[in-house]
Amino acid sequence: MIEIKDLHKSYKMGSNELHVLKGINFNVAEGELVAIMGSSGSGKSTLLNILGMLDEADAGSYTLDGIPIKNLNEKIAARYRNKFLGFIFQSFNLIGYKSALDNVAMPLYYQGVKRAERTEKAMHYLEKVGLANWSDHLPNELSGGQKQRVAIARALASEPKVLLADEPTGALDTKTSYEVMDLIQGINDEGKTILIVTHERDIANMTKRIVNLKDGIIIDDSKVEQVKASANV
């Protein structure tokens, strides 16, 4: 599903050049649940941003579902993001003045889906994350866990090939984190490819594979025995 070869990325910080990614090689097959781990500054978020086409690599190749991702202009990047990717953020990033349902329906609006169909689909995904009764609520009327579940529903709504989660449990307490991970595991079990950036070992252990990043290179990439989140709840 994802093929990355010799990926380099550096940022200019004033006169200094910060080499964040120093040659990343890694593949993700369909249906995998991968954790990208590393301490802060290891380049894990940068990697995720490149995977999410929110940022572009300086060198190396990136192929997503057989399509080479390079020389993207804003327009194409937006279309690919909408078509291929679903994002889950640490700070949820819901639109504050829109109801849970409207937030979930947003990617569908940009896909050009008609309103009635949008509402129906969005409702379906809200049901899936267990928030059907909260569809009319604004984000600030929801708890952190509920917000993240709305965000997951939104990520799923566009039916993407890959879900990218950047510290999805970073703003949540342990119990809520496990609930969210249980949901993510359930989605993965249905066959969706998911990448999670995290620095928490217990969250990483709930995936099927852990990629360890340090100073811009992969130091360890191994399959792990998945811990079911439901066992911890």
């Binding site: 929110l54 804003e74 327009k75 937006a78 994002f87 640490q90 639109i95 003045y97 609006y109 939104r154």
Partner: protein, 414 residues
């Protein structure tokens, strides 16, 4: 523009951000409202000042005599200069081609008029038939004096509307006999004057009659002329200036008055006054325009500011929208669409309120120099469009910048 989905999106945003929308709307609406009122006041002043000039023909030249103030050719100062019929005849003949209407005036002192038991003191003046046009008077009943009255030294009188009200009440005055300073005159007409009561407080009789009946000589008190209108205002003005100067020179020579004497012969040229007032009106209108344009600029700046704040406030939202697949252009279109919609609604509201207020209050305003303030609707409409355009332009640049921001930057936690 006809994308229903986007309209729904816009209405959703407006509904959920009422305060922001309201503030934008108020700044636009008040700008347009103030402009409409200012322009209307300018127009009202022009109307008012023009009205003040309707009391006499606007190209009138008047001349009257006084006492000399300078010694000249061995003659002492303090002489009273008395104009005579010969002066008028001389001027009339000399400027025959330039003059449109001309009349000399002989004033009867202590002009007491009475009819039956009613009486009152009025200005009684002996004039030529042309005087009707010099005074800008129009008849409400009967006729003005004519040349036959003058030739035959008829004892006929034309009275002002106010005089009619005083002496005759509801009675029809035409054909009635009115006593002027003890002598009977037949009323042949009633006139009205746009100058109002002050100008309608007079009685006109034939000049010949006034000279024959009251003091038996050929003295005249003043003369009034109007010039043949030329093609342009400027030409008329220039010609009337030349005439005024010539007139003064001739009269001074005929009566042996020093050329520099300013009190013996007085010439008053309405046209130069008109010119001064027209210049004043132009200045006032210009002033209102400048103030109005400044108001609009302030409005544009206000709208721009609000647009900047809106875009700033929505940067994160824009990042989110982009992350989930919004095209850059759709972001710009969304912001502009909202801005144009809000400014348009607010602009027309301001226009409507301003025009409505004028419609209600305008005709009731009765102040000197302000008459029926009104606004050119096209001008107001144009300013609304300018404001909408400016608002859109002011929103476009920040919106474009926001659409260019990488979502990763927009989403970065503060």
């Amino acid at each position: 523009m006809f994308d229903i989905e986007r309209w729904e999106e816009i209405f959703d945003t407006i509904r959920k951000n009422k305060l922001r929308t309201f503030l934008t709307g108020v700044s636009v609406a008040s700008g347009i409202f103030i402009l409409v009122i200012l322009l209307a006041l300018g127009q009202g002043m022009q109307n008012g000042i023009s009205k003040e000039f309707e009391q006499d023909a606007s190209n009138r030249v008047s001349v009257w005599s006084g006492v000399t103030s300078v010694e000249y050719k061995g003659l002492n100062p303090g002489r009273f200069i008395q104009m005579k019929n010969e002066d008028f005849d001389f001027i009339k003949t000399k400027f025959e081609n330039d003059l449109e209407y001309k009349s000399s005036v002989n004033r009867i002192w202590s002009g007491l008029a009475s009819y039956k038991k009613e009486n009152g003191s009025y200005r009684i003046e002996g004039v030529y038939p042309d005087y009707q046009f010099i005074e800008n008077a129009s008849m409400t009943a009967g006729r003005f004096l004519n040349i036959e009255d003058h030739r035959n030294i008829e004892k006929v009188a034309v009275i002002g509307y106010r005089v009619q009200q005083d002496l005759f009440k509801k009675e029809n005055p035409i054909g009635k006999i009115v006593k002027l300073s003890g002598i009977n005159f037949k009323v042949v007409g009633v006139y009205t004057d746009p100058g109002g009561e002050r100008e309608e407080n007079r009685v006109f009789i034939p000049l010949s009659t006034s000279q024959r009946v009251y003091n038996g000589s050929n003295v005249i008190r003043n003369m009034g002329f109007t010039m043949q209108p030329q093609n342009t205002f400027e030409e008329t003005l220039a010609q009337s200036k030349v005439f005024s100067e010539e007139l003064e020179k001739i009269l001074k020579e005929r009566h042996t008055v020093a050329p520099q004497d300013t009190s013996a012969i007085n010439v008053f040229n309405t046209l130069t006054e008109v010119k001064r007032f027209f210049d004043l009106i132009t200045m006032i209108k210009l002033f209102f325009w400048v103030v109005g344009i400044c108001t609009i600029i302030a409005g544009v700046v206000g709208v721009s500011n609000i647009m900047l704040i809106i875009v700033k406030e929505r940067t994160r939202e824009i990042g989110i929208r982009k992350a989930i697949g919004a095209q850059p252009w759709s972001i710009i279109a969304m912001i502009l669409h909202e801005a144009i919609f809000v400014t348009a609604i607010a602009g027309f509201t301001g226009l409507l309120f301003g025009a409505g207020l004028l419609e209600l209050v305008g005709p009731n305003i009765e102040v000197d120099y302000i008459v029926n303030p009104s606004v050119n609707f096209n001008v107001a409409l144009t300013t609304v469009f300018i404001l909408i355009f400016a608002g859109a332009l002011a929103g476009f640049f920040p919106a474009r910048r926001a659409a260019k921001i990488k979502p990763i930057v927009a989403l970065r936690d503060e």
